[in-house]
């Protein structure tokens, strides 16, 4: 108890146990309140008093501190995010930004909703639960729209691969993503694993979920209809996660600060699975008038947002909320971030049916209040009124800041840094590169995720994008990819954001899908640092203008600020998710070579572009220069060619070129099915530049000989550079006059890195004792070479 109180700033700051009622607040206007300790500024507190016409009760003060936190109010980002709303509307977009997630019409009467969110700070404090509840939270966001969640993805970023703290957080985060998603029965179809010291002490755990619904059955969050019941569904409310958004997500970690573990929520995927099935059954029976998930800011957020969205009044009897701990106080009940809860607005005539469905699934359902006349949210606690506020003042009318910005002082020096000398390419260089932490195989991570449950997964890791079938009857499906490159964005946030968008589009197009919508998770340092704010403004401007150029809308997203430890911010990391559509998933293009004797073609233009490259980083720990040039017109053209090639059945394989350049793409495409290649590099640029440059707008494709002419003529006609590189053949990778390596050696190098750092792959330990505990991988595991048989 005392530990919890000492670490709970709300409790600590308020420090009193008598319930502070509205009546009492009105009578004691001058009572000093600990608003600063709760993260509210002087003028913010003054505005609360102005809105209420009195001092807030302690419960109200806690609510404002949460809802006006950076995490909930987007107060620093709002002015920049408006650009996304100004993008040209797409007729496919059924619900845009503002709701819990955007909804996209995919045809055949179906729609999908998807979104990516961060759960960075909780995952640093408590890796397993932080990551697990990150999955749980984004899944509820998707469920809230009326959709059945059908897949997850997880872009992850860690400190240096061999740093001791990475050994602490990575196994737990991966196990948490898997533990929660696997238990929900959602295939994990891809994501990212990136290592960079800027994420040391601040790993990024982003989670994406996509759901499917009938397009005429979208659920919205508005609470309307006087007399409708407000029903809390799911887990009991406990003290876990109090202050999650205001303490964890809206402040910087300081050395020696109080332990923040009590602010992390604890997940129960089984309860969430039952909650999903029961809600979907209620949606199907058309029993729900409005619904909202409980995530960050818990009941406070759900009550105020549903009431504000419906422009309704609401009365909630807080003492009816089922509690895990009877001693909880009203502000704790309202602030709790206990997981696996939803708030439903239900017409009285449907209430019994809703309660019956909940009972069938073993889900607790409690009518805690009702929609009432007027425009006030009133909350009572054992007969006394503890909250009486206009809900929009919390949900929509939080403070907005146009924060000062400054171009980072070190940017010119970074950009003009002398690049490392280019080497001669040989076998050892390629082996080192494919084994380097950011280019090596992710098998160790991905094998811990169920990638196939639900039976719709057509492509998953290590493919460029995940592809999932939505309709067994027609083959209609979607492709999804997420990308982000913090080094590029550090060097040029505007271009970096566009490069991430371009890469995600390219990955989706490589499978044959047409990119149609964008979601984003913007991970940055402290917005109170003008240099970070400048990075954020540049990145959002780049993304908005990029989306306009590509002609695809942003459907929603998430901003994560304060990703820094002390005063060192992470590399600015916008993670971009792109949704693509495939009219028939049977025509998807895989990334691996499919057979010997096919023609290998390089699409797009290669330039001498190694600024911010994986080579410079992996070989020299060098970050400098400018990232590759972005040409979104070219990028769009490449995408169109890849989609046409798939539609006309010309392509056997397609793989986008990005980190690690052509060399990495050749190795990955060859290793996929163990089919090698003989490559002759064209005249012109050096072999090193051709193999390791990271010029954007390129892809490696194979076509059957019979299709070669037709395909190259199509590229010529459309003006897309297309160079013949060689043929697929044999069991090795030969680049004439440069290198010649058997695939077995490449595979050993490519797949050995993560097992050496984090423990052998399953099955490689058959005769060894049970592996080390998840949170404590053996430090000396580097000595063992896994048998990949």
């Amino acid at each position: 108890m005392s530990t919890l109180e000492a670490n709970d700033p709300v409790e600590h700051a308020l420090g009193q146990t008598a319930v502070d009622t509205v009546e009492r607040a009105a009578a004691s206007a001058d009572q000093a309140q600990p608003y600063a300790e709760l993260g509210l500024k002087d003028d913010e507190y003054a505005r609360i008093r102005e809105v209420l016409g009195r001092r807030p009760t302690q419960t109200e003060l806690a609510m404002y501190s949460i809802m006006w936190s950076e995490h909930c109010s987007y107060k620093s980002s709002k002015v920049h995010l408006r650009q996304f709303a100004d993008l040209p509307r797409s007729e496919r977009l059924l619900v845009g930004m503002g709701e819990n997630a955007g909804v996209v019409d995919v045809g055949e009467g179906l729609a999908v909703t998807f979104k990516v969110e961060s759960h960075n700070h909780p995952s640093y404090v408590e890796p397993y639960q932080g990551a697990a509840t990150g999955i749980g939270g984004i899944v509820r966001d998707i469920l809230t729209m009326g959709a059945r969640p059908v897949l997850v993805m997880d872009p992850l970023r860690f400190g240096d691969a061999d740093h001791p703290d990475t050994a602490r957080v990575l196994p737990g985060i991966v196990a948490g993503v898997g533990g929660y998603g696997n238990c929900l029965g959602l295939p994990n179809i891809g994501g990212e694993v990136v290592f960079d010291p800027s994420y040391q002490g601040n790993p990024l755990v982003n989670a994406l979920c996509l759901g499917v619904l009938k397009k005429d059955r979208i659920q919205l969050s508005a609470a309307r209809g006087v007399g409708n019941a407000v029903v809390l569904l799911g887990a009991k409310t406990g003290r876990d996660g109090i202050g999650g958004v205001s303490v964890l997500a809206s402040a910087t970690f300081d050395e020696g600060g109080p332990a923040k573990r009590p602010s992390v929520q604890v997940g129960d995927p089984f309860t969430e699975k039952l909650l999903i099935e029961s809600c979907l059954e209620m949606f199907d029976a058309d029993l729900i008038a409005g619904i909202q998930d409980l995530g960050g800011a818990g009941l406070t957020c759900a009550l105020t947002e549903t009431a504000a969205a419906g422009r309704s009044g609401m009365l909630a009897h807080l003492d009816r909320v089922p509690l895990r701990e009877a001693s909880m106080e009203p502000h704790e009940v309202l602030a709790s971030e206990s997981q696996e809860r939803m708030l439903a607005i239900v017409e009285p005539r449907h209430l019994d049916a809703v309660l019956a469905i909940a009972r069938k699934w073993g889900v607790i359902a409690t009518a805690i209040g009702e929609v009432v006349e007027g425009d006030r949210l009133t909350v009572t606690w054992h007969g006394e009124t503890v909250v009486d506020v206009p809900p929009a003042s919390l949900a929509d009318e939080g403070p907005v800041y146009d924060r000062p910005m400054a171009r980072p002082a070190d940017l010119d020096a970074l950009r003009s840094a002398e690049p490392p000398a280019y080497p001669q390419v040989d076998e050892d260089l390629l082996l080192r590169m494919v084994a380097s932490p950011n280019l090596c195989s992710r098998r160790w991570v991905v094998e811990q995720y169920d990638r196939i449950v639900l039976g719709g997964t057509v492509l998953a890791w290590p493919e460029d994008a995940g592809v999932v079938r939505l309709s067994e009857a027609t083959g209609l499906g979607i492709a999804l990819a997420t990308d982000g490159n913090g080094r590029y964005t550090r060097l040029d946030p505007y271009a970096g954001a566009q490069l991430a968008l371009a890469e995600a589009c390219r990955n989706v197009a490589a499978t044959g899908a047409v990119p149609v919508a964008v979601t984003n998770c913007l991970n940055f340092g402290s917005p109170e640092d003008p240099e970070v704010m400048w990075q954020f403004a540049e990145a959002t401007r780049g993304l908005a203008e990029g989306c306009a150029a590509m002609g695809i809308p942003v459907t929603g997203g998430n901003v994560s600020f304060y990703n820094q430890t002390a005063d060192v911010a992470i590399n600015p990391t916008p993670v971009i998710g792109v949704l693509g559509l495939l009219d028939d998933v049977a025509r998807r293009t895989p990334m691996g070579f499919q057979g010997a004797g096919e023609t290998l073609l390089l699409l797009g233009q290669t330039r001498d572009e190694l600024g911010g490259s994986e080579w410079a980083w992996a070989e020299h720990r060098h970050l400098g220069g400018l990232p590759p040039a972005v040409d979104l017109v070219r990028e769009k053209l490449l995408g169109e060619v890849l989609v046409s090639g798939s539609r006309d059945g010309m392509l056997s394989s397609a793989h986008d070129l990005s980190d690690g350049g052509l060399a990495q793409a050749l190795v990955e495409s060859a290793l996929a099915r163990g089919i090698g290649a003989r490559v002759v590099l064209p005249e012109g640029l050096s072999a090193f530049v051709q193999l390791f440059s990271e010029s954007a707008g390129r892809a490696l494709v194979t076509v059957p000989r019979s299709e070669e002419l037709r395909f190259t003529e199509m590229c010529d006609a459309r003006g897309l550079p297309c160079v013949r590189l060689g043929v697929t053949d044999g069991t090795g990778l030969e680049v004439q006059d440069v290198l010649d390596l058997p695939l077995d050696r490449l595979r050993e190098a490519h797949e050995g890195t993560l097992p050496a750092l984090f423990g052998p792959l399953a099955g490689a330990t058959a005769s060894a004792p049970a592996g080390p505990a998840l949170t404590a991988p053996a430090a000396d595991a580097g000595a063992s070479q896994p048998d990949l048989g």
Binding site: F270, R469, A773
Partner: protein, 219 residues
């Protein structure tokens, strides 16, 4: 031919088992854990997932559900029952099959395409199988254990239906991937045949043979 697929709270691969049954040519019938009626089905699949959240022990709570009370008797009477992954765990907890499934040796969930050597093609569910098949494995508690005497007996009686080949993904004793009861109507298998029924979504269609096999039993 009707193949029933039981949904427990927390079942995850139930719709996949139904799809596999349909692709094999059977009618798939959804059975609910709280309903003891088997609705006249000719065979039953207990699907993968985390029934009751795997709380207490995987399969330990599902064993007491109303449908299992009926199913245990029906299985003893010869009804073909296939337990996949969590279903295998339920069959062991129900004592329809010997032994138990414990935490993977590496203490991590593992999902990969897995080669299996089929050792018994005389059961209701394995008659149509090839000698070697590849189907996905995905489990966190898939390590098959039993005492030496039981293991010896299973092998002596030919009741091991499949062994892991090319690496044991979970540390199962003697590389055992699946077993049958003495009568051959009840089979438990840790890897997932229902996820290898279409070229588009699986490593191939080797898994379909489990479902066509049982069609032959009652045809």
């Amino acid at each position: 031919m009707k193949i029933g697929v039981v949904t427990f709270p927390g079942s995850l691969d139930d719709r996949d088992a139904q799809r596999a049954a349909r692709l094999a040519g059977a009618e798939a019938v959804a059975l609910w854990h709280a309903d003891p009626d088997l609705h006249g089905v000719d065979a039953v699949v207990l699907p993968g997932g985390f029934s009751y959240g795997d709380y207490l022990r995987a399969g330990a709570i599902a064993r007491f559900s109303p449908v299992m009370q009926t199913l245990v008797d029906a299985a003893k009477g010869g009804l073909p029952v296939l337990g996949i992954c969590n279903g295998f765990q339920v069959l062991c907890e129900s004592h329809l099959l010997p032994g138990a499934l414990t935490r993977n040796a590496a203490l991590r969930f593992v999902n990969r395409d897995q080669r299996l050597r089929v050792a018994n093609r005389r059961t209701a569910w394995t008659a149509d199988l090839a000698e070697e098949i590849t189907i996905p494995v995905k489990n966190g508690e898939g390590s098959y254990v039993a005492d030496e005497r039981t293991l010896d007996a299973l092998e002596a009686e030919g009741r091991v239906v499949a062994y892991y080949e090319g690496g044991n993904p979970n540390g199962s004793l003697r590389d055992i991937a699946g077993i049958a009861n003495a009568a051959g109507n009840v089979v438990g298998i840790m890897p997932h045949p229902e996820h290898a029924v279409e070229d588009l979504t699986g490593p191939g269609t080797d898994g379909l043979a489990f479902f066509t096999s049982v069609l032959g039993v009652r045809a």
